[in-house]
Amino acid sequence: MSVQKIEKNFITITIDGKECIGKNGDTILKIARANGIYIPTMCYLTKVEPIASCRMCVVEVDGIEGMILSCQEKAVEGAVVTTNSKELHNQRQNIMKLYNVNHPLECGVCDKSGECDLQNKTLEFNVSNQNFSIKESHKKVENWGYVSYDPALCIMCEKCVRVSNEITGNEALSVSVGGYKSKIVNIKNSNCSSLGESAAVCPVGALVNSDFKYSSNAWELKQVPASCMHCSSACSLNYEVKNDKIYRVTNNYEFSSLCGLGRFGFDFENKNAKKDPVVFREAISAFKRAKSIRFSAVITNEEALILQKLKEKYKYNLVCDEAYGYQRFLNAYSSISGASLYSGDLSSIKDSDGIIVFGTRVNDDNPMVKYHITMASKRKRARVAYFHPIEDSNLSNVITQFVKYEAGSEEGVVALLASVLLNNHKISDDLKSFLDNLDIGNLSAESSVGEEELDYLVKSIDKKQKLTFIVGSDLYNHPRTVQIAKILGAIEKYSDFSLVIVPPATNALGVSLICSLDEKTEGYTIGYNAIGDFELSSLGYGDMDMPALNQQEGTLTNIDKRVVPTNAALSYQGYVLNDISNELGFEAKYTIDYTSMLPVKAGYKTEDFDNLPDFFDNSGIEHRGYPLTSESVKVVENFDEIEDLPTYDGAIIYHCNENTNISVFSNVTTAFKSNEFYLRGSPQFANIVKIKDGDDIKFNINGIKYQRVFKIDEGMKGTIAINPIFDMDLNKNQNISYRFNHLHREQ
């Protein structure tokens, strides 16, 4: 049976005399590229569906008259393909001549010069004279915020339009068709930073980053491969550096994507750090005196390991507010599912045709998850059910069903979901009795998730092949987080869903796996990018400087459960955590010496940092670091009874940062720095709180005082307002509390 299956799955074709093996259903171009055979293209972009606007990829297939577009033609078993002949060359040369008609001769100042597809292919196809012409018309340059568009340089390959529709999902760009006068139009007048993703794929200098434009030539910049430090996706990127300054961020746009924050928020480095022996001695004495260490999850695996080793030696209380709830959640999940790690990842979201998103404002919490949901929606026509107390207008084009539940009722919602999703599955007796005892009517009424909504959900995902369940930050600090995690574990274990537990901060997953965390600090506390009596800070305003994540090398554990390397893009003159730990009785020359010591029990490998690969191969497979192995965990199936669901009436505050200002680190970058912290709410919220647009509002949540300017967001509904918490002073307690809270106004 297996042999037959392999035969069905793989086909062999001959390209230029070379036998190539590819997957059934792959296009000729894809198979050729995977096998290292070059077919020139102008409009082809691997990560989106074939555009077929350039016709450069034409090939000849034996037995078929005429030329075939290899980018969209699926290969047939035994086909004999020729990628180069005199006719094909002439054809391609003519295409290049047409592209060059009236293309401004401004390569000298153009940003793209040196990495321009048009330049390269014009030379490659030896275009030495031009026999086409047309009357030129005036075309105005347009500025769209983070990017600017020059129609005169545009070759209308449509890559940017595809990316904005299929990947970022903001659907801002469109083609205005008009023959020679065709151009790209920004139909939504969007100046969203995610347009940077469209600019990245532009083969010419038409769509470029406004801040980078005309500041440096591409070939002068040194590329430093790294991982993005803003959220837990830790996307692969290159910092492009000249004279110890980052000029821009690029990525391997054929196979991977970057959100606006990752692309434009790169200058968060700790400038002017110096080695001051006096401060260093103070730090050492602080460490000797301290009882606790509090740190942020924006940290490398190696540093987390150093802190864990310090804890083991000096018996510190190790506190990471961002990762503590996540660790507890993950452990509770493992106790049911029997695996230390969740089963899904970003690529499984992309390939899904049925997705449930629960307990996360996904567009803001993790843009890359949203991108992958968009890809699933556009390509697989995925059903996307979004469960959240607040509707998100940014997701309206991908969501097929929005289910609104009452804030605080997550436990009830997940129990209801379990009861319908596990309905026809074979489950354990414990779980069966738990589900049978549920008071469905009551839960449904309390959470306001209607039974007909659940029926509709079950019907819509019926017969879907690949299902993914995405859960996020609302749940990790929920008062009933353990119970919720257990039920989710059961859903994953007994149904066809794969689960993605989105880490709440950059390396929250790594910290949860490496460190044994405590809930609270006691006594004298060292704060590492967090509040403490002695503060180490990568932002430059603590008692001692630490390198920011673009100034140090190390590894991060990302949402894909992958250990990915990152490198230092900028120089750093100060002390690092390793210097302190060396003084405290450990010995390692560099921080990265700890990479091979990461705990094998948690699924890490004893691989040296320098041996970690960091590239995408020709067929687009990611070779970055290594994937964690999921260890098996002892299963203890017991479920508590569902308590009465808490009620959140009246005005409610929801802690949530916008996706361009995800953390304190994004708030120091030039592109996203903001001193205005708006509380955004619906007109209805304004009504019940009796507040007007532009009014100051002070309130108190868990002992932390907030002062915000209220702003009415017409797109919002209900009585929940969104409160951003990316300012450093308030960072101290943000993630230890449940994200929904009653509004207690202070006068």
Binding site: G108, V109, Q130, S133, I134, S210, Y214, S215
Partner: protein, 211 residues
């Protein structure tokens, strides 16, 4: 063999054509008395006054007829050839007065002594603007590559050759080298090093202009 003989023949022909004449200076006196007589004769003849006459004439010309040949250097300078490579000048467009530099950065890249540094940015008029431009004349070897590579004839070598200064590193900013806007009318189309050849028009290949 034949061609060697031929060669010899032409050599002998050339020898015959040589027409040297030995001048008759008389005999150099070999002992005391004739030598003494020669000195006295030469001293007392008018030839001395002839020489003094020339000197006197030039003195009159210089003093009273305005035909002075001495250049009073720091106050006066000799004109230099257009291809002379001295301190750089930044030219403006004669029509609009805007500076010619388009910020392509080729001069910075080709500079073999790494003495040109520039920064560019995107300006409000959506042009590439030169925000910083300096040349370190302590390092510059005046090779002329920058002027030669410049596609716009924006950076050229001028005639200011006095580069002595109190310290090695002497910087010039873009504004220092740029033609002052009030002297735009005096700016001449540059004919020196790096400028286009006189027959440039003949070398242009025509692009299709069918419309």
């Amino acid at each position: 063999m034949a061609h060697i003989e031929e060669h010899k023949e032409t050599q002998s022909i050339q020898k015959e054509k040589q027409n040297y004449v030995m001048l008759d200076f008389g005999k150099t006196p070999e002992y005391g008395l004739p030598a003494f007589i020669q000195v006295v004769r030469r001293s007392l003849s008018i030839e001395l006054l002839k020489g003094l006459g020339v000197t006197f004439r030039e003195m009159i010309n210089a003093l009273f007829r305005g035909k002075m040949h001495t250049t009073k250097y720091p106050f006066e300078k000799l004109p230099i050839a257009p291809r002379y490579r001295a301190i750089h000048e930044m030219l403006r467009l004669l029509e609009s007065g805007h500076y010619r530099c388009i910020g392509c950065g080729l001069c910075e890249k080709i500079c073999i002594s790494n003495c040109i540094a520039m920064e560019t940015k995107y300006d409000e008029n959506q042009r590439k603007e030169v925000s910083e431009y300096t040349i370190n004349f302590g390092r510059c070897i005046f090779c002329g590559y920058c002027a030669e590579v410049c596609p716009e004839l924006a950076i050229v070598h001028g005639g200011r050759y006095e580069t002595a200064s109190e310290q090695r590193a002497g910087f010039s900013l873009f504004e220092d080298m740029l033609t002052p806007i009030d002297k735009l009318k005096e700016q001449k189309e540059f004919a020196g090093f790096g400028s286009i050849s006189s027959n440039a028009d003949e070398n242009i290949k025509k692009t299709p202009l069918a419309y």
